[in-house]
Subunit: 259 residues, 5 copies
């Protein structure tokens, strides 16, 4: 009895000496856990993107620095939450819904602010543009959260979320923001605005797809969780990193043109 306990003591102390938080989750990531691998890949990509956008603010003219800074804030906030989400996934295998929505509640409005900052850089954007984009994104997120956290049935929640998204699309394609861009922007800004719009229509379409596969398409909870998380992760990579790279590209182009 004592021998066992002593050994276990020794084992314990040894174990305590050799483990770190990182190992903790590190040892848990299996070579075939592709959802976990996607969390890991995206958490590091967000870190790298943040460093990239922040350092590149050195390279652009004052007016465009703010656009790049905001791109970096989006990936910074996402990076932190991806570390939390990755750890929740790897240690419990559960979908980290609450962290996703906390992330989105900060980053989606920041993405909307990017449209506004770009429009302001080329003319007198009205505050109304910002408020309409903000309201649209909050409606979209509240709908989604109500469905995923179980406050509403998945179908009505899905419809509310889609309505918010539709409102954003209306504003940037046909509303005041769309008109301003069409009339006042330079060629490179117009092209960036146009690609950013495509991301909001195509890239954001991946989220309802994830929601659909996660809650509406299958009754196997494991497969649903896998589908949901891989799809959401890839969508975040596109909508945050690629979106930022487009802004970086126009910022560099315009800065060089004006210098």
């Amino acid at each position: 009895m004592k021998v066992v306990s002593k050994k276990s003591l020794a084992a314990l102390i040894t174990a305590a000496l050799v483990t770190t938080p990182t190992i903790a989750s590190a040892a848990n990531l299996q070579t075939d856990d592709f959802v976990g691998i996607s969390f890991w890949l995206i958490s590091m990509s967000m870190v790298a993107a943040t460093a990239f956008f922040f350092i590149e603010t050195q390279r652009v003219s004052a007016k465009w620095k703010t656009s790049l800074t905001v791109s970096g804030l989006v990936t910074l906030v996402a990076a932190v939450h991806y570390f939390y989400m990755r750890d929740v996934w790897i240690s419990t295998g559960e979908t980290p819904t609450v962290y996703r929505y906390i992330d989105w509640l900060i980053t989606v409005p920041l993405l909307m602010i990017e449209f506004y900052i770009i429009l302001r850089a080329v003319g007198a954007a009205s505050a109304g543009i910002f408020w309409r984009l903000l309201i649209g994104s909050v409606v979209m997120l509240v709908g989604g959260y109500a469905g995923e956290a179980g406050y509403l049935d998945v179908w009505p929640a899905f419809i509310i979320g889609m309505a918010g998204w539709a409102f954003i699309l209306y504003e940037i394609f046909l509303g005041e923001a769309g008109k301003m861009s069409a009339e006042q922007a330079s060629a490179s800004v117009k092209s960036a605005f146009s690609t950013m719009r495509l991301i909001v229509i195509i890239g954001w379409a991946i989220y309802p797809l994830g929601y659909f596969y996660g809650y509406l398409a299958t009754s196997d909870p494991g497969a649903a969780a896998n589908a949901l998380n891989v799809i959401y992760n890839l969508a975040d990579l596109l909508n945050k990193v690629a979106f930022g790279v487009i802004i970086w590209n126009v910022a560099v182009t315009e800065s060089e043109a004006s210098s």
Copy 2:
């Protein structure tokens, strides 16, 4: 047997000497703990705001850099304390009063310094303005702490706190600071000063509201703690981040005008 237990105790304490964070509180945030979600949201918003203000110092002229740096210090100090407060709330469900006041004892004087820096940037602000604003804010905080930590009954403490706030309002509306702004500032500085004043009168009014709902309005301790913390959190978001954004806006406008 006792010997073994004691040893395993020692081993456990040793093991416990070293336990890790992330998962920890992560696993504890429930999807319906909206107070916890508000702590989480605001802690990350403070981090993002700090990065924003510090990076944007690159963009403004020397005189305005200090204003932006101080805005970033306010959100930096708040960010650190929100991480502590968030963890206290999520792991114990208790109101983290002592950390709130430590935060405020650093950030409220820094907000007062912002008024002084802006006035100094447009003319010869007397040191008296700074000292009066400082004394007002300390009286306000000491009153509040005495009430919340139980050193005074809630009503007398409430009155002391309100008196400190009234003194600040007098100074920035009718006192020397108010006069200086009215007479010497440029249009954009005057407009910023005016919005900052509105925040101090309207945004700060949210704190006594929280105090009222937390200590004076209800006898249900759970509901009171929820109300108190959500209200305080939203007030901090407005009074720190929005306040800083106003200063950022005037700093950018004035820097572009003078270049």
Copy 3:
């Protein structure tokens, strides 16, 4: 009673899964664990290289800042993964395959982007160059991972990986990228491009060597793991740090020439 003790052992080990770092792995690195020492050396070299590239962006002209930033991203991502890999190796003695491939999936495309950025700095590089280099590197990595994680037999996987690499070599020596460099680049850019190519042909050849010694040459798993990891570590040091230093050198030379 023993059962209880065993359970408490398990519990303790679980608890210990989350014990702190420094001492931890520190106490475990043996003076004769040269694989562990190589992990340690390279993790710190990556940190130092990252600091170097990021700080030196101050020194070069705008066009070259991006090249240096990307070099720093490569070593940053590698640094983080080397810390994880080091801890896995030192605490378990196992080859951290999954972390290596997560690292490579981010850093190898970034290295390919470096070729593209340099070509774009000297003329109108087509997007096709980037996509071909990207596809080549993904094929190479997918082949390698399939072999190392056991999804394919080692020989076929080896051949797929080699095909991806051959495709990259074709592009940078004989394809469009090779031609552009030969025709349009200045002497110092041409020389850097040429050394970078040599690194991709000679430095990258070390990886199949590691794969060969790790999976094809020996049946002693301990010796194979040692060989594999030491070879991969040295290859990473050369292909990431030395590659970056070459880019730093051309960036400094070209910046001084143009100022």
Copy 4:
């Protein structure tokens, strides 16, 4: 017995999962532990001051950057040690003497270097000034440590420490440093030098006061520890942060004058 063990197991794992370093000391800070609150306040103030001094180096001319950098080093080193001291105090209630002296052994010479850097900025300061200030500060600290750590009786140690301080005061008021400042400095430098001297005479006088109350005035060890730590904490705040702000002020004034 088993039940208890199993419960304790569960409790253990729960405890291990919910604790973080932060909660840790966080949960321990009582609302009436004003010494602990002062440690906490000052640790965060040091962090904020460090950020302030480092970011403001952007704003001043090259010659004055070094003065600001050194001010930031003082608060950086103090910040790190205050975090350690805070944790020692809150978890054990003991006076963290050894960390205080490690801090002072780095920061006090750095403060002396500030005098030297300012004198060098206005004329040819001899190396003798630096060495005399350094020797004075080391004598002062060695005396203090010998008394507080029990290597000497408190009275003789007190006298040695006071002698070191007297030597510093002689140098900056009546010695070569004092003369240089009186003869060669501009008005704003002279005023800063003069305030820095006042801090060394008045602000530093708080330390022997703390020593006196902590070791010579009372026989109640609890009250003595409280007095000692609160007094030392306030002295550090004044002598590090306020000292740095004075240097920041002269750096900004002189930079604007020369531009």
Copy 5:
């Protein structure tokens, strides 16, 4: 028995709540452990020196930025390893030989690179200088490690190490590097080069002294470990921080002269 278990539970949870990694080692540093205090002092000095060198790169001209960056890399790498070494010493009382050599394998070549960068800044330094200095330093370190880790007897290992050092001294005093400095450098560069050489001859002589006291002079292992570590620590402080300050001094002087 139950009482004990319950108490132990309570004790455990309390312990878990009050402990942090930092306390862990913090609580372990005794007021009379002067070796531990020297580890602590130097770890923080390295951090401060790193911040200093990196921030001061702002102040010097492009050519000298690289020299300062490399000085900062040396202290950065040393800082990280000193934190590990400090923790090993304080928690086990053992000499952290393997971490010292990992540190030196990165920092000593970087110090040699400093000679090369300075010579390149004043003329066409041949690559041979760099390779000879690198080979000398590797021979020196391999000899030392073989002796300290027990791969060779202490005397032969000592002689190999000394031979490497002698080769470096030959190169910088009488070889190509020495000649280049004598012929082509400006007065301030020549003076810095000369002081750096003195550090390599006098400051580095402290290491064989430590080796001698640690392995050859005494048979008391405790005293030997104390002597070895204190001597190595002081040598590192001189050879890394003071070496860097000399480079900073010449960088500032030359930058001001050329502007």
